[in-house]
Structure formats: C-alpha cells, structure tokens
C-alpha cells in the first residue's frame, strides 16, 4: 500500500539497496508486505469482477423467462463466477494475509523465498487476463460450470482452452506460494517458537499449504487430460475410446474437496486469532485445535465422491463416502466448541472483527449443517444440482471464508496502515452484509427443496417470489462491499484520525503486535527470542 513508508526506522548496511519506485517497485519487489498488499488488492478487484457476474446472474433470475441474458452467456457467467471467486478472490485474499502476517507472527525477516514470492503473485494477473479475456473471444468464455465436466468442456470453444491455461498458471502460482509458506513456517520461526507455540493462523496455513501442494498438481493433470482430449485425440473422458467422463469427476473432486478446506482452514485460522483477542482469554484447547485441523485435512482426501452420488456409484461406495463425510463433522465440531469455550466467561467486546467472527460462527455452522444434510446419499440424490446446494456452499464460502476475510482486514488493517478504521462504519458494514447475505441465500434453501435446478437461466413461475427476494438481497450485498472498500480507503488515508498503536487490541497476543503500526518496511531482520 502506498502509505507504507520505505526503509524507515532502520539504519544498517543497506547502502547498496536500490529500491525501484513507482510501478517498478511493485513489479520487482521482494518484500512480503508489498506482495501481501498486492495479493489483497488483486483479490478485491477479482471479488468485484466475480460479484458483477453474480449480479448479472441474479438480475436475470429476478423473473422467470429470459430478460437480459442469452442462455449461453448465462452459463459463461455461472462458470466464470465460480472460478474467479475461488481462484481469484478468496484464495489470493488469504495468501495476502499469509504474506503480510506470517513473517510478523513467526519473527521472520521475510518469506523464505522472496523472489519466488513475487512470481507467485505476478502469475495471477496473466491468469486473470486469460479468464476475463475469454469473454471476448469467438464462442465466449467457458460455459460448462466451474467444475469443467466433460463432455461439455470437451465440446466448448477456445474460451475453454484459455480457462485450462489459466488453471495451469494459477496452479503453478499456488504451488510456489505454498512451498514458500511451508518453508517459512518450518524453517524461519524465531528461536524459541516451537511448533506448538505457533499462532493458529500459522498452523492452519501450514496444513492448507500441504493440501495445496498435494492437490493442485492433480487438478493440473485433470485439465491437461481435458486439453489433450480436446485437441490431440486422446480419449481419457470418451467412452468410445475406453475412457469415462465420470473419471474426470473423480480426478477433479480429488482436488476439489480438499480445495474446500484450502479455502476454509485459513479462515478458521483468522477466527482462532480474533476470538481470543476480543474475549481476552487464550484460545481454548489449542492442541485439540491443531489436531482437529490436521484431521479435517486428512479426511478431506477420502470423501471426494460425495459430490458424485448421482453418477451411479455402487451402493457400497455411496455408503462409504456418506459415513466418511459425516466423520468430518467431528473435528469441525471440536473447533466450533473450542471457539465457544474461548468466549465462555470471557470479557467480550464487540468490535467489527469480533462481529464478523460471530457472524462466521453462526452462519458457517449453518452451512456445515446443510452440508451434513447433503452428505446423506438418499437426501442428496433429491437435492443434487438444486439451489439447496448453492445455498449450502455460499453459507460456507461467503459467510465462512469471506466474512473471516473481512474480519482479518479490520483486525490487521491497523497494523498494515497505521490507522484505525472507523468503528461505526465497520459495524454498519457488518450488519448490512449479514442481513443482505441471509436475504440472498436463505431463500435459496427453500427454492432448492422445492426443486429449482441450479445453473439454469429460466425457472417455473412458482419460484418467482423467493428468487426476487434473493436478487434484491444480492444487490444489497454487492453494494455493501462498495461501502467496505470506501471504509478501507478511509482507513488507509487516516480519516478516522486515530493512529493505531503497536498493539491496538488490548487482548491481542503475538509477535505481530510488538512491531510499530504501520509495520516498518523491514521487520525482524534479527530474529526475536521467544520464551
């Protein structure tokens, strides 16, 4: 961020440093704070892009019949909305937090591989260019859904090729970023900070990075097979040549289910930092939190086919995946329990980060419960590909990951910018988002239970009212996020007039609060000692 001063407050041998300024500073930077900020800005731009797609979808669904979008365009928008939000908005937001905060939390001078860190970020804009640009090529963007199932993805035009290469590039970015994060956590902790003394955010990112390294190459393999099926005559997903379209779903969801936790675990990490701070109590059950996180990660590899109950799995397979999926509720419930127990008899105050965490707790739990409903094979066969599923994963992705990302911005923003945000505006943003979110997505449960299919631009008359409610909520939610960026820009410019102290939250603990706010350009060049 432009307000971060360069090289202030440190005086030793950097005479030979030649820090470029302006655009070149950001193109060539090896500083984790610059790179973290770029990740966050990129994430916000993609969040707005994906949000515009969502609002176009909701505008079309305001009434039955076709009003503003042709079905092909509608399908392109649902596809790109998914990919852009997952790979462009949510994942980079949390990588941005990791870049900014992990070196500060661990007492490291920077990320382990500062130059590769730059590349991990700068691979994302080319991928975004390919994704957004695909709307403007003949045939338009990929339209088979973000899951890229064949045969639709085999038949599509060149927009699908652009999608495939974008996925390759984003995968390379994720793998490099994850190797960087794992190495930083394993090797750059300050002396005395043992693994079990690490902040939970570092633990959740360690496990997330492992998931990314294990699954991103599998996705790369899957889309490579799509590419060769499309252009070079292989028959991986073509029954005529002995292949099977369902095989793609197996490979894809072997990546796709861990991906859910790649998004959720860093969010859990953020919540595990914030709830103790505003409850003024240490995190309840730290060790069990670590074990629960690891259990979720391991279980996430062996439940993938619960996305595929309607593909004709054998009954034994359906039963296995049903029970294995339900098992995930156990470590997840342990985490929810620990957060509640942390708050139990704490002296709680409700600043904006805490409000978003409480919103997270209620709504993510709700999304978890609908997930349990969907894990039941006989129920899922009814609900598969209906709006119930859409409602379920938006409770997890938006109220889970996105709300905790907002919480992180309000919680760590003073450390990044040196200024407090305006509490009144933060609170309005929270309540506005909370209400608009529920107005948007709660009715989708009813629509799904009544049988409205997802990914279709038209619907039966009886679904009209709840769709209209949902669309109104969506536009209100979108507007709230413009309000959010206005709040953030005012925070960067210091409009609140309140300078952030080194430790602006009295209940906060950790090394990140021992450096001044805003954090100097270089921190912990000599590692601190942790007792």
């Amino acid at each position: 961020m432009a307000s971060v001063p360069q090289d202030h407050g440190h005086d030793h041998a950097h005479d030979h440093d030649h820090h470029p300024t302006g655009l070149m500073r950001y193109l060539t930077t090896t500083n984790h704070k610059d790179i973290g900020s770029m990740y966050m800005w990129f994430s916000f731009v993609m969040f707005i892009s994906g949000g515009i797609m969502a609002l176009l979808i909701r505008a079309e669904l305001f009434q039955p019949g076709l009003q503003i979008l042709q079905p092909e365009r509608f399908n392109q928008l649902t596809t790109l909305h998914g990919i852009v939000m997952i790979f462009g908005a949510i994942m980079p937001a949390f990588v941005g937090f990791a870049n900014w905060m992990l070196p500060l939390q661990l007492g490291a001078p920077d990320m382990a591989f500062a130059r590769m860190n730059n590349w991990s970020f700068w691979l994302l804009p080319p991928a975004a260019i390919l994704l957004i640009g695909s709307f403007f090529v003949p045939g338009g963007a990929a339209a088979g859904g973000w899951t890229l199932y064949p045969p639709l993805s085999i038949q599509a035009g060149m927009g699908m090729d652009m999608m495939i290469f974008a996925v390759h590039i984003m995968g390379a970015s994720s793998i490099m970023g994850s190797i960087n994060i794992i190495t930083t956590i394993l090797n750059l902790r300050a002396p005395g900070m043992t693994m079990m003394k690490m902040p939970m955010f570092a633990w959740t990112w360690l496990i997330t990075a492992f998931l990314l390294i294990a699954t991103m190459p599998v996705l790369a393999g899957a889309v490579t097979m799509l590419l060769t099926d499309r252009h070079f005559g292989t028959t991986f997903f073509n029954a005529a040549g002995g292949g099977d379209p369902v095989m793609f779903q197996h490979i894809f969801w072997f990546f796709g289910h861990p991906e859910v936790y790649i998004i959720a675990l860093p969010a859990f990490g953020v919540v595990s930092q914030i709830i103790p701070t505003f409850s003024r109590k240490p995190l309840f059950g730290y060790a069990s939190m670590v074990y629960a996180t690891a259990s979720i990660a391991i279980l996430s590899f062996i439940v993938w086919a619960h996305h595929m109950y309607t593909t004709g799995l054998p009954v034994a397979g359906q039963l296995y995946f049903m029970y294995a999926t339900m098992l995930i509720a156990v470590p997840t419930a342990a985490k929810i329990f620990n957060w509640l127990a942390t708050m139990w008899r704490g002296s709680i105050t409700l600043e904006t980060p805490m409000l978003f965490c409480l919103g997270f707790l209620f709504l993510f739990t709700m999304g978890g419960f609908t997930g349990l409903v969907l894990s039941l094979t006989p129920v899922d066969i009814q609900l598969h590909d209906t709006y119930y599923v859409v409602a379920h994963f938006h409770y997890v992705m938006v109220a889970g990951a996105l709300f905790s990302a907002f919480a992180a911005v309000y919680y760590w923003g003073p450390k990044w910018t040196g200024w407090m945000y305006e509490e009144k505006h933060g609170k309005i943003h929270f309540w506005w988002s909370l209400i608009a979110f529920n107005v948007t997505f709660f009715p989708q449960h009813f629509l799904g239970l009544a049988g409205m299919p997802r990914r279709i631009p038209d619907y039966n008359m009886q679904f009209t009212e709840w769709n209209q409610v949902s669309s109104i909520g969506a536009f209100a939610f979108g507007t709230a996020q413009l309000y959010f960026i206005w709040i953030v820009i005012r925070m960067i410019r210091g409009k609140s007039g309140i300078r952030a102290a080194a430790k602006p939250w009295d209940g906060a603990e950790g090394l990140e609060w021992t450096v001044p706010s805003p954090a100097p350009y270089h921190t912990f060049e000599t590692p601190p000692i942790v007792k």
């Binding site: 090896t30 190495t183 097979m225 040549g241 002995g242 490979i251």
Partner: protein, 286 residues
C-alpha cells in the same frame, strides 16, 4: 550486493528486487496465448509460441544465473540451505501428485471403465466389445500392437538404474573433494540419460510406424503416451539440470560442504528413476 551484512550469523538472506519474475509472467502469458491460438488453428500461433519460449528461456538464464552468483558469493547461509532442502522436497512431492493423476487415470480405466464398457450393462450399446487389455475402446477401429516390455523398455530400466549408481559415485567424489572423478561420473550419468531419451524417441517412432500405436489409439494410447511422454519430459529436465551442475563443477563451483544444487538435481534424478520403475511395471509389464 551487500554481502557482508546479509551473510552475517543470524541473518537470513533476502534477495534484492528482481525483474525476473515479471519477465517469467510475461513469458507464460505469451505462451498461453500462443498455445490457444495454435490449438485453435489461428494464424500467427506459432510465432507467438516461439516468442513465449524465447522470453521463458531468457528468464530462466537470468534468474538461475542470479541464484548461481549469489550462491558462489556464499550469501546463502545454513538456514537458506535448509529452506532449499524443504522446498525441493515439497516440489518433488508436487510432481509425485502430478504423476499420480495419470497413474490414477490408467488404474481407473483398467479396473473400472473398460470392464464396465464390456459388462452386461453396456451390451446394448457395444455388443461386440470384449474389454481385453490393451484396447482402443469399443468404437475406435484401429488395431495396434502394444509395446513389449523386454526389449528397449527393459534396457532403459537398466540405463536409468545404472545412472542412479553413477550419480551416487559422483556425489561421493564431491564429498571427498575429488573434482575430476566427480566430473567423470556426472558426465557418465548425463550420457546414460541421453541414451535413455534416444531410445525413447526410437521407441515412439517404432510405435507409430510399425505398431500402429498412437496417441489416438483409445485409452491405451492416451495413457501410454501421456505417462511415458511426461516422464520423458521430466528426464529431459533432469538432464538439463545435471548438465548445468556439470558445467558448474567444471568451472570450479561447489565444495565439499556447499553443493545443494548438485543434491537437488540428484534428488530429482532419483525421482524420475522411481517414476520410471512404476511405469515399467504398470504400463509395460502389466
């Protein structure tokens, strides 16, 4: 380079701002656009691809060159060395998972999709399909002979296993500070890798011209060529890595304690070796 301050004890080397990552991003964007154009038969695809590769190689020379300079200036202390070890291990793990996707596809086809297409459930659609492996699938009518395991593939297995031994001898020479022995055995490893690649090329020509075994030969051709092709690509990368290390050895880089580039290339080499053993058993023998 402000060498002294960075390599002092307790300091972790953080590189200066660098243009190479953004050059690499431009390269990959150009490559992606070129590939999309080429695959969709648009004019100008090949030149764009060529430009993309040129920028990519320029980036690799520049970036790796910078790393080699920093390494030779001994800017990388113990901690940086340990970071390299972690990162190379995790990178190889990611490569394992990439191959796992293709091995998984082969397993799925053999254990599930092909038997299913030959089962009673599919008789109405494909009444004459027996489901014997190897197969082009029920609809592609282009019979081929599979590649026998005990000709060139067996020789290739022996070549790669031998190259693992010669590489280990080279490593011991490095540890003992015997430079000429190191160079000799490392060169031998590279020669063995090149012979392996030559045999692979010969085998592909043989498959296409004599066996009618092609990439388009149904699920067998798909898995055969994608698995062996990606492996061959990784061997090529390994040969390039070892060659760079060999040139550095000849120029007097490294010493008994400071030679992680050698070890990383060696780890990678052993990894492609192990993948080959998996391929030999699963693709050629079974």
């Amino acid at each position: 380079m402000s060498a002294s301050s960075h390599s002092a004890p307790g300091h972790y080397y953080v590189p200066q701002p660098s243009i190479w990552p953004i050059v690499g991003s431009v390269a990959l964007l150009t490559l992606a656009i070129g590939a999309v154009m080429t695959m969709n038969k648009l004019d100008g695809g090949f030149p764009v691809l060529a430009v993309g590769f040129a920028i990519l190689f320029f980036m690799m020379f520049g970036w790796f060159g910078a790393v080699i300079k920093e390494s030779e200036a001994r800017l990388y202390g113990k901690n940086v060395d340990l970071s390299f070890r972690w990162s190379m291990s995790w990178f190889i793990f990611s490569e394992v998972m990439f191959f796992a996707a293709f091995f998984g596809a082969l397993g799925f086809a053999r254990l599930h999709s092909v038997p299913d297409l030959a089962s009673i459930d599919s008789k109405l659609l494909w009444p004459n399909f027996g489901g014997a492996w190897p197969t082009t699938g029920p609809y592609i009518d282009s019979p081929f002979s599979p590649m026998g395991a005990w000709g060139i593939p067996a020789i290739n297995t022996a070549l790669l296993l031998t190259s693992g031994i010669t590489l280990t001898i080279a490593h011991h020479a490095m540890l003992a500070g015997q430079r000429s022995k190191l160079i000799l055995w490392l060169a031998a490893t590279i020669v063995l890798g090149c012979i392996f690649l030559g045999f692979q090329v010969y085998e592909y020509v043989h498959a296409y011209s004599d066996l009618n075994l092609k990439l388009t030969s149904g699920i067998f051709g798909s898995t055969f060529f994608m698995l062996t092709g990606f492996h061959g690509f990784h061997v090529t990368v390994g040969v390039i890595m070892l060659t760079v290390v060999l040139i550095r050895c000849m120029r007097g880089h490294f010493d008994e304690k400071h030679h992680f580039a050698f070890e990383a290339a060696a780890w990678y080499w052993h990894f492609v070796d192990v993948v080959w053993l998996g391929l030999f058993v699963v693709v050629y023998m079974m």
